[in-house]
């Protein structure tokens, strides 16, 4: 009998696992767990068919806890936790991969994450591709936890958000991350963030079928009932208004960009996996579905979010306040020349209505005011800066003495030092 395998040294082998480099995320991650717990709100919807512990974000939290144990060389505990995780989320591929590696590390050294034995050639390409995607997903999840947004910071796009928007969403494509905010009287508060997949060919959608996810400022347009959707979309879907007026002015095409869930046999999809949609794990999407309201919830999708302190955008907000107030004064006074000076020559409203037709609308509106002052309520300014500088403005237009008025959205472009409206329309 030959003793080639034995116990004591095995521990060490298991500890040398793959995450030495991947894993310094521990403290930040623990913090995020707290944030999440504090923010968890009781669901008003009836409990779905799944076990109650399948809370949003929890699978990732537990996966990262496994990684942390591995990094600390506590492979026995890591394996136990990974196995429970894989039992609770059998289609969470990263959990299964961690189980495989942790088990395999007891029989031979693991050189890197997902050290799957050489597959037969027929499958090797498929296996290599899937493994690479899983490693990318893992890296994205770990990185997102390692560099958490600074406390109380907001994405720079949110210059001003009206209380009518009770929630807001921002997506950092470089991190495969979706951030969900609650718009409180004290400003935007980050309540949760989730791993999210984007287009197979990445971002900056410009053409129909280009398998890219659009970048820009969007709004959720509706909520689609999962019962009406194919299994492929998972827990449900929230379409967004791509192409928006800025996209249209740039000739971008395509449609049907949604936030949606994952098919039943897949907990999460690769970082680059969709035809342009944003895809989240079903528990995460469910939380969003029951939290956000269609129409008033902005969705900012950026290549990389820039996180700033709320007061840092104050100056920009004030200076744009002045611009919008000048427009309001011109409209109140019915000074058509001055008012039209705010509109860009390439202005278009819905159905490509050009400025000369829109002028008639403006004239009718100013006449209807009959000298009453125009008030702008519930203003939101969302700033989108790429090759151009765009302000997406939403407000309620209420004449003095009136109780309600139309909700309008304008797209302003900064041309030199001057802001000009290149789209205006009533949204509700």
């Amino acid at each position: 009998m030959f003793v080639e395998l034995s116990a004591p040294s095995r521990r060490a082998a298991a500890g040398t696992l793959f995450l030495a480099a991947l894993l310094q995320a521990a403290p930040a991650h623990a913090q995020s767990g707290k944030v999440r717990r504090a923010a968890t709100q009781p669901s008003t919807e009836p409990a779905d068919t799944k076990a109650p512990n399948l809370r949003d974000g929890q699978a990732e939290t537990r996966l990262l806890a496994v990684y942390k144990l591995i990094a600390e060389g506590r492979s026995r505990e890591a394996l136990a936790q990974a196995e429970t995780l894989a039992r609770d989320y059998p289609n969470f591929q990263l959990a299964q991969l961690a189980v495989g590696d942790l088990l395999m590390s007891r029989t031979r050294p693991i050189r890197r994450m997902g050290d799957v034995p050489e597959p037969d050639t027929a499958r090797s390409l498929q296996v290599a591709t899937t493994l690479e995607e899983l490693r990318n997903e893992s890296r994205q999840r770990v990185d997102a936890q390692r560099s958490r947004p600074p406390a109380h910071s907001i994405p720079a796009q949110f210059l001003e958000l009206s209380p009518r928007s009770r929630h807001a969403i921002a997506v950092d494509a470089s991190r495969s991350r979706l951030y969900l905010f609650e718009n409180t009287p004290k400003g935007l508060q980050l309540v949760a963030d989730y791993y999210a997949s984007v287009g197979k060919l990445g971002i900056e959608k410009s053409l129909e079928g280009d398998q890219r996810t659009p970048l820009g400022v969007y709004f959720i347009t509706s909520r689609l009932d999962p019962a009406t959707l194919k299994d492929f979309y998972g827990a449900g879907a929230l379409p967004i208004n791509y192409p928006n007026p800025l996209d249209q002015s740039r000739g971008k095409t395509g449609s049907g960009i949604w936030l949606h869930g994952t098919p039943p046999d897949q907990f999460a999809r690769a970082p680059l996996a969709t035809d342009g949609c944003l895809v989240l794990a079903n528990p995460d999407l469910e939380r969003i579905l029951r939290t956000v309201e269609p129409r008033s919830t902005p969705v900012v999708i950026a290549r990389q979010l820039q996180w700033v302190a709320p007061h840092a955008v104050q100056a920009d907000r004030k200076s744009f306040d002045a611009v919008l107030n000048a427009w309001r004064n011109a409209k109140t006074q019915g000074d058509m020349n001055r008012l039209l000076g705010f509109y860009a020559p390439d202005f278009q409203s819905y159905r490509k209505k050009p400025l000369n037709e829109w002028t008639q609308v403006l004239q009718a509106e100013t006449r209807a005011l009959k000298g009453r002052e125009l008030h702008l309520k519930d203003k939101s300014y969302l700033r989108w800066t790429d090759s151009a500088d765009t302000m997406v403005v939403t407000f309620g237009e209420v004449a003095e003495g009136a109780r309600t008025g139309p909700v309008k959205r304008q797209y302003w472009a900064r041309r030199g030092q001057q802001w000009q409206i290149f789209f205006e329309g009533v949204i509700g």
Binding site: M1, F2, V3, E4, L5, S6, A7, P8, S9, R10, A12, A13, T16, A86, P90, N91, Q93, L94, Q96, L97, V99, G100, D101, L103, M104, R106, T107, R108, P109, G114, V116, P117, R123, Q126, V127, T130, L131, L134, D265, Q266
Partner: protein
């Protein structure tokens, strides 16, 4: 059930049980007889014999263990599982029943149960090599299932391959049991009854490993060999301790020759030189289990050549020579890839025309 019969014989190690086992001579003969029947492929006869003896000694763990093996071999896995399960309940300190339970579960593709049983076996006895090898197979199998799920591969092929595990056929780790006819002085230093709960032996300074203190075991350790290890009768030449004086010059030369042979064997193993490695074993070498020599060689080759790097270092080598026979005991530090195992080993060698070759290899001692 065919599966069991095909996979079980792989790694078994069969050695004659002796009176040294620590129980009465008559009973030891019974064990030997049942063991021989199992070895001879007559599990039904072995089972009948075990049942007959158990009528007189219904509690005897050794008999019950052999009965379980006979049940497994005669196509009664459910009975065997019951037998071994009861043994684990009554003697939780014995690793062997856990191991065999695991083998039976694995053959039914109940890998999680197999794993739990093997982990218990190892918790019971951390140096239990067979359980480690079996558990390694189970881990690898479970890992490949997890990988298939991770990669969302169709796992039907992979799942149909059951791990091949070794059933232990004797209670009380026979590799440490003495061999009949061995010089008295070379008699096993361990009380066999203790082996079931043996911890890795501490390195012996000069003398062969002394008996570990008998722990609580079901079989009384009444054998005289439980006494402290006596001085070697012939000679003792620990390479690490050259101060030991050989009894005679010719013996010294023989000890030297045996030591070289053993070191050459270790070197060939380290170098993965299969020709030299297998050449170190005599024609009369009895491969473990019911394996043929060629099956054993194939297995060794697979195990050795399959490693990317092997290093075998011997220390505390003591050699006892008795005419054309010799026994070398040493501490073997085995490193393969990331594995690093130190264990005690005993090699029995014979001298054929001035060349010492291995006739028996066992761990412990």
């Amino acid at each position: 059930m065919k599966q069991v019969r095909r996979t079980l014989p792989r790694l078994l190690r069969l050695l004659a049980l002796t009176a040294l086992l620590g129980t009465g001579a008559a009973q030891a003969d019974d064990y030997t007889e049942i063991t021989q029947l199992i070895k001879a492929g007559k599990p039904a006869d072995a089972l009948a014999k075990a049942d007959q003896r158990l009528a007189a000694n219904p509690r005897d763990p050794q008999l019950r263990f052999l009965r379980g093996v006979a049940q497994a071999d005669s196509g009664k896995p459910a009975d065997a599982i019951t037998t071994f399960t009861k043994l684990t309940e009554e003697y939780p300190e014995l690793p062997e029943p856990y191991n065999n339970l695991a083998v039976l579960y694995a053959n039914q593709n109940q890998l999680d149960k197999a794993r739990t049983a093997l982990e218990m076996a190892i918790r019971t006895n951390p140096s239990y090599a067979t359980a480690h090898e079996n558990l390694g197979d189970i881990y690898a199998k479970l890992a490949s299932q997890a990988y298939n799920k991770a990669l969302q591969l169709d796992a039907t092929n992979a799942n149909s391959v059951k791990p091949k595990l070794a059933l232990i056929r004797e209670l009380f780790a026979p590799e440490t049991a003495g061999k009949p006819g061995r010089p008295a002085a070379a008699a096993p230093a361990t009380a066999p009854a203790v082996v079931a709960t043996q911890r890795p032996a501490p390195p012996a300074a000069v003398a062969p490993a002394p008996a570990p203190t008998p722990a609580a075991t079901p079989v009384p350790a009444s054998a005289p060999s439980a006494a402290p290890a006596p001085a070697p009768a012939i000679a003792q030449a620990p390479t690490a301790a050259p101060s030991a004086t050989p009894a005679a010059a010719s013996d010294a030369a023989a000890v030297q020759a045996v030591t070289s042979a053993v070191q050459a064997w270790a070197a060939a193993w380290s170098a993965k030189d299969m020709q030299a490695y297998l050449g170190a074993y005599d024609k009369s070498f009895d491969p473990p289990g019911r394996q043929t020599r060629s099956a054993w060689e194939k297995e060794r080759e697979a195990r050795i050549v399959g490693k990317s790097k092997i290093n075998v270092q011997l220390s505390d080598v003591t050699v006892a020579v008795n005419g054309d026979k010799a026994t070398a005991r040493f501490r073997q530090a085995y490193t393969a890839d990331a594995l690093n195992v130190t264990s005690r080993k005993t090699l029995d060698l014979v001298n054929q025309n001035g060349r010492w070759s291995i006739v028996r290899e066992s761990t412990g001692g």
